[in-house]
């Protein structure tokens, strides 16, 4: 069988993009090697590790075992897409702040999976966070700081919710100022 290349219309990080890719390519391959979005990592490449996690319609998905053609018609969000005009996602900041990494390879997948978790459950408990991240392996940190980073985001989100947007700015400034 020879490769059949088609134009796929994907919706990635808020924009429609047309990509020419062979029909047997995974979403991970298209994201990394056609769109140049190398934040999404290629780890085990067979569904075991979670390094390739991105969001499809807001839900965590392993892009190494998703065919690119299956993503047509759905919203794809990669780790790059969590950054908005207001800056980094709260979780990107709390992971930084909590020092929730060593080599960093698992981070994009962890942060994206944590984002899906908090979007569904803004008040997620430690147990719920652990469960939500149970498809993501980290070979370095021992996970504790990762869970702490997500809990820190839960607290910051709660503060923003009760005190209004002004405190989000204050909170994030505090977060950003903490370690530097």
């Amino acid at each position: 069988m020879t490769a059949e290349t088609r134009i796929l219309r994907l919706h990635v990080n808020g924009s429609d993009v047309d990509v020419a890719a062979p029909s047997h390519w995974t979403l991970l391959e298209v994201v990394r090697y056609r769109l140049g979005l190398t934040g999404t990592k290629q780890g085990c490449d067979k569904g075991d590790c979670g390094a390739c996690t991105l969001l499809v319609d807001g839900r965590a998905r392993l892009s190494c075992i998703t065919l690119a053609g299956d993503a047509v018609g759905h919203r794809v969000t990669t780790i790059e897409g969590l950054v908005t005009k207001d800056g980094l996602d709260l979780l990107q900041r709390t992971f930084d702040e909590a020092g929730a990494l060593q080599c960093g390879f698992c981070q994009p997948g962890m942060i994206v999976a944590a984002r899906a978790c908090l979007d569904a459950k803004p008040e997620a408990t430690r147990a719920e966070v652990k469960e939500a991240l149970a498809s993501n392996l980290c070979r370095c940190t021992g996970y504790t700081k990762i869970f702490e980073a997500v809990e820190q985001a839960v607290r910051a989100g709660r503060a923003a919710h009760t005190n209004g947007p002004a405190s989000l700015v204050g909170d994030s400034a505090a977060l950003a100022g903490g370690r530097r």
């Binding site: 059949e4 029909s23 047997h24 390519w25 290629q42 569904g47 979670g50 998905r61 053609g69 993501n136």
Partner: protein
């Protein structure tokens, strides 16, 4: 990096369209539901399809409902997460919700479907490896080779059924609706599997599983529970998979009970004689539950087809039979 070999891709918009594609391509096609089993296997070179047909747009195959006969009907494309959370499943077949929740990890369960789990390929440490790895060792009976690395001199593949929900669905005597362009048939799930690890499904190349039907609970309730042995509490396939279902008499003692053990051989195994053994005993009588477990242990023979010392896996059978009953008791009826 694990590359896929080239294939064409089709995403039909209706079940009829999918069936027409299957009728046209037959054995040259592979279906993809959530892809969580198909893609790793394709990357390992276990299949060589010319076309991959995606079922993801078939909304008509998704959802949980109760039919006029009080039976639970679950569309094949319902995700494992949906099965695990569905109030109807939790109320009518709690063990099925437990088994669905025990599959892989959370991200695999938002992707993976119940139909894909029922149709999961068998597993073996000698086959779920890259093409390079298998070629270096020498191919085996399941794909491209003539020998079995598990049973020396073996003439048939003994790769293990490793699908968590199948164990429980067999215990609940579920039925499967299978369609082709030409016909629709219904089969008891126990008869859907055959003792050939190379291909353990009685599914023709032009057929599609559309629905899983769980019989209505008995008037006093049908209890069901699931327990699996695995190294980590997430991601790992079962090294032992035990599903139980039972009904009770007025006084709360067992009326009938079924124990199914899997991750041993190519099909889930119904342990004979459990109903007689447990009738009249109480579901919280641990000695009775362990006796049922002993009966199961005495007839199963774990092999080196999957990870975990076979003797240890065998010794754990009574423990996991007991845990399955206790999980079922917690789930209610």
């Amino acid at each position: 990096m694990l590359r896929l070999e080239p294939f064409a891709f089709a995403k039909p918009q209706t079940t009829d369209e999918a069936l027409a594609l299957l009728a046209r391509h037959g054995a040259k096609a592979k279906l993809i539901a959530g892809g969580t089993d198909l893609l790793p296997n394709l990357k390992h070179g276990l299949y060589e399809p010319e076309v991959v047909i995606a079922l993801s747009d078939l909304a008509e195959l998704r959802g949980v409902a109760v039919n006029g006969a009080g039976e639970l009907e679950i569309g094949a494309m319902t995700t494992l997460e949906e099965v695990e959370r569905a109030a109807l499943v939790r109320a009518r077949a709690p063990g099925l919700a437990q088994a669905a929740a025990a599959v892989a990890g959370p991200t695999q369960r938002t992707m993976g479907t119940l139909g894909g789990n029922v149709c999961l390929d068998t597993r073996c440490v000698w086959i779920n490896q890259s093409h390079f790895w298998r070629q270096s060792l020498g191919f085996c009976l399941k794909k491209d080779g003539t020998v079995c690395h598990v049973v020396k001199g073996g003439k048939s593949c003994v790769a293990a059924a490793s699908n968590d929900t199948a164990t429980l669905l067999v215990a609940l005597r579920a039925r499967l609706t299978i369609r082709s362009a030409a016909a629709t048939r219904e089969v008891a799930i126990a008869d859907f599997y055959k003792a050939d690890g190379a291909m353990n499904l009685r599914l023709a190349p032009d057929e599609l599983l559309t629905r899983i039907t769980v019989p209505a609970p008995a008037p006093q309730g049908t209890w069901s529970g699931y327990a699996k042995l695995r190294p980590r509490a997430s991601i790992d396939f079962p090294r032992l998979s035990v599903g139980v279902a039972w009904t009770t008499q007025q006084d709360g003692t067992f009326a009938d009970a079924t124990v199914v053990v899997s991750a041993i051989a190519a099909t889930p195994r119904v342990i004979a004689g459990i109903g007689e053994l447990l009738r009249g005993r109480r579901p919280d009588d641990l000695a009775a539950l362990l006796a049922a477990g002993e009966k199961a242990r005495s007839v199963v023979t774990p092999l080196t087809n999957i990870d975990g010392d076979p003797q240890w896996r065998r010794a754990m059978v009574p423990v996991f039979v007991k845990r399955s009953f206790l999980a079922g008791a917690r789930g209610g009826a």
